[in-house]
Amino acid sequence: MRRSLFGRTWLNATAAVLAVFFIFPVYWMIATSFKQDQDIVSKTPVFLPLDVTFDHFGTAVDAPNFWTYVVNSVTVTVGAVLMSLVIATLASFAIARMKFRGRKAFVLVIMMAQMAPWEVMTIAVYIISRDNDMLNSLVPLTLFYMMMVLPFTIWTLRSFIAAVPKELEESAMVDGCTRAQAFVKVIFPLLAPGLMSTSLFGFITAWNEFPLVLILNKDEGKTLPLWLSSFKTAFGNDWGATMAASTMFAIPVLILFIFLQRKAVGGLTDGAVKG
């Protein structure tokens, strides 16, 4: 389509302003975490920190229990994702490849479970965990995070399994494989990318979870989001250290997202276009 020079400039200028609007908070977080204190509390903000320091990261890492919280977050997240992968692989194979009564109902429940109002169920989860003497423990967190990511994992893996041509599986079975063997030898290897991206999305969800850990765990049972949310208060407006802590917390997710981007957006678009 022909577009005038003026029209193109105008579009690009709008896009540039929007790009700045969306990236700025992320940039400001990272920039602040590397700035000298006098550049953070300065009458004129320093937009490009040339005088770089790593002290704020030191302050954040040396904060009480930092490494405990890292271990907690990693344990809970990895545990939840692995459990949901196993359970979801079984279930999604059934709904993608088998015909049975109750299939539609199950799919519907999964879709609804994906929107479960966890934010307001925290009180019940708290009482359940307390009645089982599991406050400040990582067990309920892992189990409930597993449940939070399970519907999404099933739903996503279902599409990945459905995308594997049935003929591949059938020819393996003609060659004498049982259905289970055909799954393990033919479908499973083809699922690797699907399992990978699905688990990374699950990881991001569990890594970010806040409302549940807020009510369940205190002190040494905290995870990183809870630590981060109380960081500013604990450090009396030390913005450098607070932003360093935010940066350390956000960087793994930002990197994963860049890596997943093509699957999240590109892969999808392709799927939608190629039909």
Binding site: A15, M98, M112, A124, R130, W155, P225, S246
Partner: protein
């Protein structure tokens, strides 16, 4: 529409669905292949084993869902009929009170104030998110390759930013003394904003929360919109243009009808997400000042957990779930209508 040229165009029976179901589940070919197998010829005979197989495969997922989702839901309802405060909790007492918690809430002006506020808050957010996301999606579709990539990366970063980190950064951006926002407003000549405390009143607190939520939600809508746009055959635009249609006419006559399922589904998803948003509202100012920025989920948490009136909190939670249930019922009616491959 030179921007389309690098994409293979094929007829997609329902592009909006593919885009929404696609991004939501982020799977390749989502919504493209019929999931239900035509026959189970090769699955062996109709023996008992193969008839039971699907149920055995679904067993772990079903047990997990019942125990970890069904039970807390039921427990929320049970708690809402109990008088459960600090004393009862410590002494492990179960005192049933019937509908007392509900009567108390439904006659409490504060509950209705919070409900009205939550509805207004959701409406403002969703309108801004849908308009912003749609416009940016349209813009992405018009941009050249390089500029589009720049904007996409920038949107992606906002989308990927963890909620708690984003909330922390926003409180820093809007810090009264050293925040960069107040500095910019001061430079622009609005000198009374130089040391403005954004968290001092409910309107400016809500401004920060809404900006945060819109900022992090727009990318999802924009990417979906852009994905949907690339599925509209360019012949349709050309035909419309030949007939002399302007940009607005093209949007109302070509784009909107093609992407209507997308608009409906995305709007409902955003309504549900914003309605139950907890972290942003709580972490910015904990429902303050003076409880004036509490929305329903935050109200349930603060009354129930922080205030240690667990029964009351559960009743507020159930009322919130009922409202969400109505929204979800509408959403599923739309989804089921268009999702023939369920």
């Amino acid at each position: 529409m030179a921007v389309h040229s690098e994409r293979v165009q094929t007829q997609s029976p329902d592009p909006g669905k593919a885009a929404v179901a696609g991004v939501e589940t982020s799977a390749p070919g989502g919504g493209s292949k019929g999931a239900a197998p035509k026959g189970t010829r090769s699955a062996g005979g109709p023996g008992l084993g193969s008839r039971l197989a699907p149920y055995l495969l679904l067993l772990p997922a079903t047990v997990a869902t019942l125990a970890l989702l069904g039970w807390p839901l039921l427990k929320t309802v049970l708690l809402s009929f109990q008088n459960l405060n600090r004393r009862q909790l410590v002494l492990h007492l179960t005192e049933w009170t019937g509908f007392d918690n509900y009567k108390e809430q439904l006659t409490d002006p504060e509950f209705w104030a919070v409900t009205g506020r939550t509805v207004a808050f959701t409406a403002v957010n969703v309108v801004l998110i849908m308009i912003g996301g749609t416009l940016i999606g349209l813009l992405l579709n018009q941009l050249g390759k390089k500029m589009r990539l720049v904007l996409q990366i920038s949107l992606l970063m906002a989308w990927a930013m963890p909620v708690v980190a984003a909330t922390t950064v926003y409180t820093w951006l809007f810090d009264s003394q050293w925040g960069v926002v107040n500095w910019i407003l001061d430079q622009l000549g609005w000198h009374s904003m130089a040391d403005y405390n954004w968290l001092s009143n409910e309107y400016s607190t809500f401004f920060v929360i809404i900006l945060l939520i819109v900022w992090m939600s727009v990318p999802f809508v924009a990417f979906n919109m852009y994905a949907g746009l690339t599925t509209i055959p360019k012949e349709l635009y050309e035909a419309a243009r030949m007939d002399g249609a302007g940009s607005v006419k093209i949007f109302t006559a070509v784009i909107f009808p093609n992407l209507k399922p997308f608009f409906l589904a995305t709007t409902f998803l955003e309504v549900i997400w914003v309605f139950k948003a907890f972290t942003q509202v709580y972490a910015v100012n904990a429902g303050g000042p003076e409880k004036l920025t509490r929305t329903l989920p935050v109200h349930a948490f603060l009354e129930g957990s922080a205030g240690q009136h667990y029964g009351i909190g559960a009743a507020i939670a159930v009322l919130t779930i009922l409202m969400l249930g109505v929204l979800m019922a509408y959403y599923f009616r739309i989804m089921i209508k268009q999702e023939d491959e369920l």
